[in-house]
Symmetry: C2
Amino acid sequence: MRINFARGVPAPESFPVADILCCASQVVSRNMLESLQYGPARGPASFVRWIAERYSVNDMMVLTGDGSLGLFELFCSVMLKPGDTVFVESPTYDRVIEILTARGARVVAIALQEDGPDLEQFKSALADTVPRFFYLIPDFQNPSGLTCSAEKRAAIAALARQHNILLVEDAPYRLIRYTGATLPSFFELAPEVTLHMSSLSKIIAPGLRAGYVVGNEALIGKLVKAAENRYVTPGNFALSIAGEWCRQGHLPAQLASLIALYGPRLHAMTEALTAALPELHFGRPQGGFFLGLHLPPGISNSAVREQAQQLGLALSDGKGFFLTGGEHFLRIPFCGLTVAEIQEGVAILRRAVELARPA
Amino acid sequence: MRINFARGVPAPESFPVADILCCASQVVSRNMLESLQYGPARGPASFVRWIAERYSVNDMMVLTGDGSLGLFELFCSVMLKPGDTVFVESPTYDRVIEILTARGARVVAIALQEDGPDLEQFKSALADTVPRFFYLIPDFQNPSGLTCSAEKRAAIAALARQHNILLVEDAPYRLIRYTGATLPSFFELAPEVTLHMSSLSKIIAPGLRAGYVVGNEALIGKLVKAAENRYVTPGNFALSIAGEWCRQGHLPAQLASLIALYGPRLHAMTEALTAALPELHFGRPQGGFFLGLHLPPGISNSAVREQAQQLGLALSDGKGFFLTGGEHFLRIPFCGLTVAEIQEGVAILRRAVELARPA
């Protein structure tokens, strides 16, 4: 495969390798026990402290662990019984659908509009069943790239408060914003009903698996207990390194460098798509890793994928991001690709769309 | 708390800190993508390859991940439905009981004798129900320190073959043997019905969370798929470091050094216990991290724990290692304690036992 549009990976040239090694050396000399011995299931105290300070919460409201998806699965093991109802955006992160389905949850899809979840659908679903939680990615959503507006955030937070619905806010892309102003997170708007999930996988490097969740003390306490029973101690060596990197103050410069690297890639992608496939609709992401492309009604993503595959372009299955439907959706990543790869990939995509068009 | 007999941790002075840092530097310069980017759910190819060679199997029979307990929980998520029967030794690893119970398994305890599981009980339980699997720790068992004899291994392997029972062999202590000859593992005796679990937590350092399982390709394939859905990629930075450390050939010298460090600690523990508490029975471990101490019928471990606590000695709850009973059992660790701490701990234990004795 010449070009890969299937995975949303960060650019390896962005990985701060020298700083990671320097932090590795620091953590073992500063606190060998914290990074190498069995330790608290919450993760290394110094990393927990840094996160708690950043979110202005106490340490008991933080749990770190091996990637935020793993922490989400742990959360589901504590929260969900088979048959419990969960709301998600539609489309949403494909692996979250798989985790919820594996737990036997009844998953209700709330359509995502350009400015966030359809509030009328949300209210009408709510009239039917109050869910155990509502999983949302408000900033530069995976897979659509869309961002929930300030107005909808306020409305969703108010409804969550009113009906005591837990909002599970997945925010791994939140800090990687190319244009526009940062909007308040659900955790800022309604901390008492929000579990905020994030990760440094997209910022430092995925291989450190530095994920975390922030939420109310009672819920986090249950998750810590479940984590202890399930794996005793998370990857404290890698988590200590991530914590040390944050404590050393590398985050602002790294974010600036990611935005300088990825912004032009997003620009190249939207320019190439607009020029090559003017009839195709896509939302314009203000940040993050993806945009969502809508094929015309007559053209299925499976036909396009098949043609693209033969021409050397890998595409992910758009249907995976939907409970039902999604036949005309494609998730297009841009961060882990050079401008030349983006242009070549879009050229192949254009040919694949032409070949997939019914005669 | 002055002395901690509650946790079975390795000695931090054994951690090969300089080699870990050297391997960290090696893995990012040799193969940065393998250690820092998203990658296969199976774990870093170079670590998988090293394990496969060591066990003389192909790479598709290996899954690495963040600690062997976490991999066991993943395995249970694939294997168990509520109500399924699982056999365990009695006593057994407390966290395994918790994981099985959380999954709604029907757990059947097979009494552990000095030379391994009671075969008559095993056969009689088998006549009642063929379990989904039998979880065993044949070498230097946690918590008893006991080792399954060659004869019983052969008999259990034969029964497993005959009834097509999966043996889940947890072997984290297997390489840390102070006396006696190594016995064949279940994976060596009956590879087609064995899932072998192990970890480098007790050998390199727990903070790397370098666990792995080896088993038949179909089962491992299912676990890899479940791992991908649950956490995408394991802690590849730490796992690559563990793999590099193994590939560099540090294992034999590290094992020799652990045995030289821990052997005298076991000797100090058995000498101190025999001198201080001659009436108490305990099995003599040939390796590993623990021995199991049996209090006289009149003295409960909860009374001893309470007294010990007040005198500055932490003990773990012996009942946690049993489904029912265990009121007179204490798990005693010795690796992460100096000889002076062992002697002071046993002196406190002696006073605690005296104080707990009914008037």
